[in-house]
């Protein structure tokens, strides 16, 4: 469906398509400009395929100067611009605009430099996440953040979403693993942010850019940190006959002073789907499993294993199975890694949520989600980064059944509100995009949203970069607030209702 564009967030301009095309042709080769329906089709959505918009014009520049010229042109004419990496985003961040230019960054796919002595790589934004680790593996190094989509997603998209992965519990998110960015502002100015040293003078704009969802600048180069490959890793699977006990066990592991490299949870629906899909050896009768990976030097792994194994049993696991060799380890992870596509096979459509909550709330929140699933009559599969408290409830629905997506959206919305209520956030790693833009109005006060708008204007005065994503207009919030009364009071009662 076409997501409703809020009138306050729509950027109108009077530029005619042929006029802009003519200007673009003065510096872009013909095959780098797409404007016909069938050519535009692949760009109409990202991985949140429920929302689609046919782009106005797509450009695929190959040089920084070309992007700069596109930006200057659009900035002068007041035309909105959206950047796109691999389009694996799950919140509609790269969703195009029907009167805007979509800049595809896929041609920026070169690894520019590898500096092993300083443990860093300089890459163009269209390089895929996994390509970096592959390239430096022979040096005994790797890039730590490992989103499940890492074969496909780009580093530019990772920075824009502050992507995480299974191993972020121990090794950090994108924001912890980048050193320097080169960006272009909407006005086309090239700014270098950060450095190859451990710190830089001035404001930490790297922090603001990371997770900014393409709203502040176009990322044209990224310097990422590299880490030495971990010599030894072992994964174990703890099996539970009750979801809440598994949730409590997660908090218990962290409370014991352990930081596993990964601590992932799957519930019965996810276990069955994954097992059917790739035969990872998961017990299909279990109510939940925890996959707990320990890594480090051989010595550290042995030492921690001796601690974690009995700990999981004492926290209520019925059995704990250790993957004894690399093959067994890969197999144990395979089910988790393929969980999304696996769920995709048991249901015509699914809708992935991304709320993050304090770990001690896991058990209670999982229980509430089960209740909501029953209330709306839609199954929910849970497969998520438990150690970080980052939930991924997958709401199963059928887009061909009238009203089903509506129900899925409402169920999702309830889960987001629940996440906020228990002290969490609406999104841990997938971003706000178009999907959760209304919920920003619940999570943040009017004054805080205003501050975000001021930051946005510092980078993009005219508000042309990715409008209608990530940051709601205050008018949207006033209207949404009128529908969504929480804690018995309106969030922005001081704002006029439209």
């Amino acid at each position: 469906m076409i997501p409703p564009i809020h009138p306050a967030e729509r950027i109108s301009h009077r530029v005619k398509k042929p006029e802009l095309l003519a200007e673009l042709r003065t510096f872009l080769p013909g095959d780098a400009i797409l404007f016909e329906q069938e050519m535009l089709k692949p760009y109409e959505c990202d991985a949140l395929a429920a929302y689609q918009t046919m782009p106005w014009i797509v450009v695929l520049p190959e040089t920084v100067e070309a992007i700069q010229r596109v930006l200057r042109l659009c900035n002068d004419y007041g035309i909105p611009v959206v950047a796109r990496g691999a389009g694996t985003g799950l919140s509609g961040g790269a969703l195009p605009l029907d009167n805007g230019v979509l800049i595809s960054m896929v041609k920026f796919n070169k690894i520019l430099a590898i500096d092993c002595d300083n443990l860093l790589a300089v890459v163009e934004p269209g390089v895929t996440n996994l390509a970096i680790s592959k390239k430096v593996a022979k040096e005994g190094l790797y890039y730590a953040p490992d989103p499940s989509s890492q074969i496909a997603c780009t580093i530019g998209g990772n920075v824009a979403e502050n992507a995480g992965g299974v191993h972020c519990l121990k090794y950090g998110l994108t924001t912890h693993n980048i050193l320097r960015l080169k960006i272009l502002t909407m006005a086309g100015e090239l700014v270098v942010i950060g450095s190859h040293g451990f710190d830089s003078e001035g404001y930490d704009l790297l922090a603001i850019l990371t997770g900014s969802e393409g709203m502040l600048g176009i990322i044209i180069e990224v310097s990422v940190k590299l880490l030495p490959l971990v010599p030894s890793a072992q994964v174990m699977m703890a099996v539970f006959d009750c979801v809440e006990i598994a949730g409590k066990a997660v908090a218990g592991v962290i409370a014991a002073g352990l930081i596993p490299a990964g601590l992932e949870m799957m519930d019965n629906t996810a276990i069955c789907a994954a097992e059917e899909f790739c035969h990872a050896g998961y017990p299909i009768t279990a109510k939940a499993i925890l996959l707990c990976e320990i890594d480090g030097t051989a010595e550290q792994v042995t030492e921690q294993l001796e601690q974690v194994y009995p700990l999981l049993l004492s926290l209520g696991a019925q059995t704990v199975e250790i993957a004894h060799d690399e093959l067994a380890r890969q197999k144990m992870w395979a089910g988790r890694k393929a969980a999304f596509p696996a769920v995709g096979r048991i249901s015509p459509d699914y809708y992935c949520m991304d709320g993050t909550i304090p770990r001690h709330q896991l058990a209670a929140v999982l229980k509430s989600i089960a209740g909501l699933s029953e209330k709306y009559g839609l199954p929910v599969a849970n497969v998520f980064h438990a150690g970080d408290g980052n939930l991924h409830p997958l709401i199963l629905y059928d887009g061909n059944v009238p009203g089903d997506f509506d129900k899925a959206e409402r169920l999702g919305s309830d889960i987001l509100s629940l996440s906020i209520r228990v002290g969490g956030t609406i999104t841990g790693e997938h971003g706000v995009g178009v999907e959760k833009i209304n919920h920003m109005c619940i999570q943040f006060s009017l004054a805080t949203l205003n501050q975000f708008h001021a930051i946005k204007a510092a980078f993009d005065e005219k508000g042309l970069l990715n409008p209608g994503k990530g940051l709601p207009s205050l008018r949207r919030c006033a209207e949404f607030g009128a529908l969504h009364v929480h804690h018995g009071e309106l969030p922005h009662k001081d704002l006029e209702r439209f």
Binding site: D117, L119, L120, G140, L169, G172, T175, H176, T185, L190, V191, V192, I193, S195, H196, G197, F198, D199, S200, E201, G202, Y203, D204, L205, A207, I208, G211, V230, A251, I254, G257, L258, T297, E299, Q300, T356, P358, H360, H385, D388, G389, N390, G423, G424, T425, I426, G428, H430, G431, V432, M440, F444, S445, T448, Q451, A454, I455, K456, A458, F459
Partner: protein, 350 residues
Amino acid sequence: MCTSELVSQFQEEILNAQLEKSRLQIVGGDTKAFLKPNVPASLTRLEIGGYQGIVDYQPSELVLTARAGTSLTIINETLAEQGQMLAFEPPAFGRSATLGGIVASGLSGPRRPFAGAVRDFVLGCKIINGQGEVLTFGGQVMKNVAGYDVSRLMAGSEGTLGVILEVSLKVLPAPKKELTLNIAMPIESALVQMVALRRHYLSISAVAYENGFLRVRYSGSKTGILSVLDTSVITDVDVESSQNYWHALKEQQVDFFHTKGDLWRISVPPATPVLSVPGHWFYDWAGGLRWLKTAAPVAAVFGAATAHGGTARLFRSSQQAPWPRQEVALPLARLNKRVKAAFDPSELFV
């Protein structure tokens, strides 16, 4: 005064300053004022030190939330009781250092290359901006991408964007045992060995070099450390307890810092070779942070740092204010200015 009254009072002081078109210096424990030599002493001070207290600390969540005036000593003690720590090892520079000052000055200790900097551990914060508005960013959870990451931006903002009222920090389990290898070798070899150490997965938590000795702190086990090093350059090795040396280093109490002369803080990519500025050098952060005592001209120091893609800052000096600051590329300087204006449009906070 109760804490909510204090917040209203801060807001009032800010709004007053706005009316009077005066400027404000935010002060925590006032231990790091030397870091702002260019700020005139006559400015009105906005004292945050009284806004104290740990608001929430749940060891199992690995998160501590406290008001900005809370003393660093209290925070460290509270964490130690639970076997946890601030992994970025902030320098206190005096008994009265506060959480707000630690975050605002953005300084991290020897563990920084191995564990991360202040900004890496900030999960959320509450601030008052230049309009006197109380704003909340981030939260108490490990992952959060709703809204721009203003919490981390506050780290190192030196009190120029707004008043930090409250901060949530990620904390980590403290290592049970730490020891230090003290290895004699010349600096040129040491810089090469530091690279070798970082390129291997080892249980290292600090690497420094001073006066002919490479010091390597390990947490847990020293397995592998010596096998990574090139033994031909080592003239002597011994093991010492870790506590005192690294504490003294981060608080700048080791002898090096007591010698006369201007003290420079230079941040460069860690594998940068020896910089050719005369003076005494101290290497922390496995080569990434270099302290220099020198009488060399300012331009020579800035020039050496810039040539290697680094930055230099005069840290302590008897020179008259204003101290020179390294030039920032124009596009970045303009952006910094606009970001400052987004938080503090009337330029109240200096």
